[in-house]
């Protein structure tokens, strides 16, 4: 018993040390959020007594969800030393798989179960298929880059192009023609009591399931990476695979597992587009958010919490765009639309401190 508490206090102490180390990132992000709040109030606050500001922030978290999933996929892969720029493709594939299963599942089950139950079943089925389809592409990437040691950037690019091709074809062949009424997205799931908190409630606890899952994953992946045996081994493999190998750790297996786990997470991110955002698929609908997720990962220094902060920042840029174009038609919409991409460039040029990737990131491991 004594031992457990001491391990806990140890963990807390470690968490504090890590927190202090990433203080600049946190301060910058906090500053950004406050500045954005003030800016939002200034630009649109007068139009709606501040309510639309809360809405804009809830929207921020929603839009941040797929970006964060993409970033977590990146964290999982790159911490083990596999660069994955095919996240965009995996999400696109998952978005289409989810939509197709949702649509056709709903049509098949509608008569047997009735519209409400059929919608529920088909949505969860769609989520599973979304994950499975992304997993398939992740498996491809894993085999290319781990087994065949091909260039990981090229492998990722191939997966992106492949996904665009497949989804584009499927869309034209099966989906574009006769789009029946959509089966609907996941409903909002307000958390009892918590959703009633003023300001924070509507922002944090009045969301859809994948958004909650994303927040839980941030905590989960962080804990796994820094507090468990698995995490220590993954980090060692991403930094110095030969050292890990001499200590009996299976480098290739670790990399396979992480690349596939990344695929699962990317699949969840793809499902967000057609199961939470809108219930319709359109070609190229992921719109670069997978790449922005990678920028969020770099912004967050390959740490899940940092990546989440990065995703929130991009989400904010996105929701500001939307809100401003609604309430201020006098501002040319192109200007706020540039914001997320401008942010990406700023982050990637290293303005937010030099981020150092895992040392063996992107290098195939060859046993001597």
């Amino acid at each position: 018993m004594v031992k457990r508490t001491s391990a806990l206090s140890d963990a807390l102490q470690l968490a504090w040390v890590r927190l202090r180390r990433s203080l600049t990132t946190i301060l910058l992000t906090a500053f950004g959020l406050v500045a954005a709040w003030a800016l939002l109030n200034l630009v649109i606050g007068g139009q709606c007594d501040g309510k639309c500001v809360v809405d804009a922030l809830a929207q921020t978290l929603r839009v941040a969800t797929p970006i964060a999933f993409a970033a977590f996929c990146g964290v999982l892969c790159e911490r083990a030393g596999v660069v994955d720029i095919g996240i965009e493709g995996k999400m696109l594939m998952a978005a289409m798989a989810a939509y197709s299963v949702n649509l056709f599942g709903f049509q098949l089950l509608q008569d047997a179960l009735g519209p409400v139950a059929a919608g529920n079943v088909s949505r969860w089925l769609a989520l599973v298929m979304a994950v499975a389809s992304a997993l398939l592409l992740a498996g491809l990437h894993a085999v290319f880059s781990i087994r065949f040691k091909s260039d990981q950037i090229i492998s990722g690019t191939v997966i992106n192009i492949l996904a665009i091709g497949i989804t584009g074809y499927m869309y034209r062949a099966f989906l574009a023609e006769n789009l029946p009424a959509g089966p609907g997205t996941f409903p909002l799931v307000p958390i009892p009591l918590l959703a009633e908190i003023p300001v924070l409630g509507p922002i944090l606890f009045h969301q859809k399931p994948l958004t909650y899952l994303m927040l839980a994953l941030a905590v989960g992946i962080y804990w796994m990476l820094f507090y468990t045996q698995w995490g220590l081994r993954v980090r060692a493999v991403g930094e110095h695979p030969r050292a890990a190998d001499t200590l009996g750790i299976d480098v290739l297996r670790t990399r396979y597992i992480n690349t596939l786990l990344g695929g699962v997470v990317a699949g969840l991110g793809g499902a967000w587009f057609t199961l939470e955002a809108v219930d319709v698929f359109s070609p190229l609908m992921t719109n670069g958010l997978g790449f922005i997720g990678l920028a969020a990962m770099i912004f967050g220094k390959w740490n899940p919490f940092g990546a989440l902060l990065g995703a929130l920042l991009f989400g904010l840029g996105n929701s500001v765009t939307a809100t401003v174009s609604i309430f201020r038609p006098d501002i040319p919409s192109q200007i706020p639309q540039m914001l997320p991409y401008l942010l990406t460039i700023i982050v990637l040029t290293g303005v937010v401190g030099r981020a150092v990737a895992p040392a063996a990131d992107g290098q195939p491991y060859e046993k001597s």
Partner: protein, 532 residues
Amino acid sequence: MPPALQAIGITKRFPGVLANDHVDFTLQQGEIHALLGENGAGKSTLMNILYGLYQPDEGQVWVKGELVKISNPHEAIARGIGMVHQHFMLVPPLTVTENIMLGQESLVSATRMLGRLAMLDRRSAAARIRELSRQYGLAVDPDAIVGDLPVGAQQRVEIIKALYRDADILILDEPTAVLTPQEADELFVIMRGMVKQGKSIVFITHKLREVFAVADTISVMRGGAMVGSLKPAQATRELLAEMMVGRKVILAIDKAPARPGLAVLQVEGVRVLDDRRHVAVDGVSLEIRSGEILGLAGVQGNGQTELTEALTGLRRVAGGKILLNGHDTTHATPRQLVEAGMGHVPEDRHKHGLVLSFPVRDNIVLCTYYRLPNAHGIELDYAVIARQASELVRIFDIRTPGIETTAGALSGGNQQKVIMARELSRLSERHGAQNGAPLLIASQPTRGLDVGSIEFIHRRIVEARDAGAAVLLISAELDEIMSLSDRIAVMYKGHILATVDARTATREQLGLLMAGVTPAAARPGQREGAHD
């Protein structure tokens, strides 16, 4: 008592190389066994076989009287064999505790049922590390980040890593290569202590001095074969050197006293930043005159690399002034420096000295390809270049099938000769020109070379000096610095702590300076160069 470790008739072939040729090796329990040999003699191959990194083609391995097959390092660890590699197997961003327990993590017992997701118990691992650290006198801080530690401390982490796995047979691969002489002596004390507590140690080295300092038994390898084993009492430096090289070796370099002329290189208060934009060279001043060799000693990573890069135009100078023969070259480009008479033998011959995929011929004209007689306008004159290359291959005794052979196919010694040929021929071509004497900057010129090549390169450096060149020699090998230099400057944390006369300098004095200890005599007010 059976031997701790015994190898019988080990043979290992790599494509085109017989790395181990029926090698016998016996490590008795409780002894320090020095394994001596030149680079490429097969020492590391033999040890990698005993540690399970390679599989032998023939032969047997016995551990404590038991015939075993070690097919991976994990099995070696299970048999009580631990190895400290020359290039540390540490993960820099992890803490000491994390590095040591990696692969054999202590876990919080209540979370064990989570399998791989069981929580790390850093506290109990750290306690065990502190205990080992006390028991064997290996000072480490379990919570430090390994990448922040100096190499000496990283080496202690590696040793504890082996002890943490209950190793009683330790293989130390060139452990002193990264240490100051004092640190090496401390390591020897620790090794003695470990042997007293029942450990057996294989100590790989190519430095003769260390063998006498610590070994109970000495085995010498050459060209993949075991030449013989003997006790230190039966050995002399000359005998061991002869066993290593296969012929009589002249250990001391014959050189006439320096006859320094005018100042060639003047460095005044130079500051240089490293890649992470930290100050690596902090106000260094030095002067090298024509006809003298200035040795720059210091433990690796104290700013020598950055200083060299700044002097050769490869890194921006953040402050101060550099004069070459009186002309300001602080911000000169490498091409301008080459034109002004600077020769550079870079630290990493593969990365910066040669284009490995180019033939020897092209490598020889890398600095002069663009001008007469090698080029007319934009056209290269291959006939002239080939003639020049063949000539240099002959003069510098470069062992290559031909000038068309790619540089990457040559042995390390011959690659270095190609670089020396290129740089020195350029300097001698300039010698006598009105605008001053040439400057040769040689960084780690003999790292990883065999004794024969070392002798050759040392002789050439002294010849360049005698022909009037100013030479800056940067080396991590104190022996090399001491035998070649006329004056020795010691660099520590970006500063030059002192410059001493090589004739009176002692190993102990330099070792202390390399560790940052300034003798009381050298007061801060005393300027460098005041010793002359």
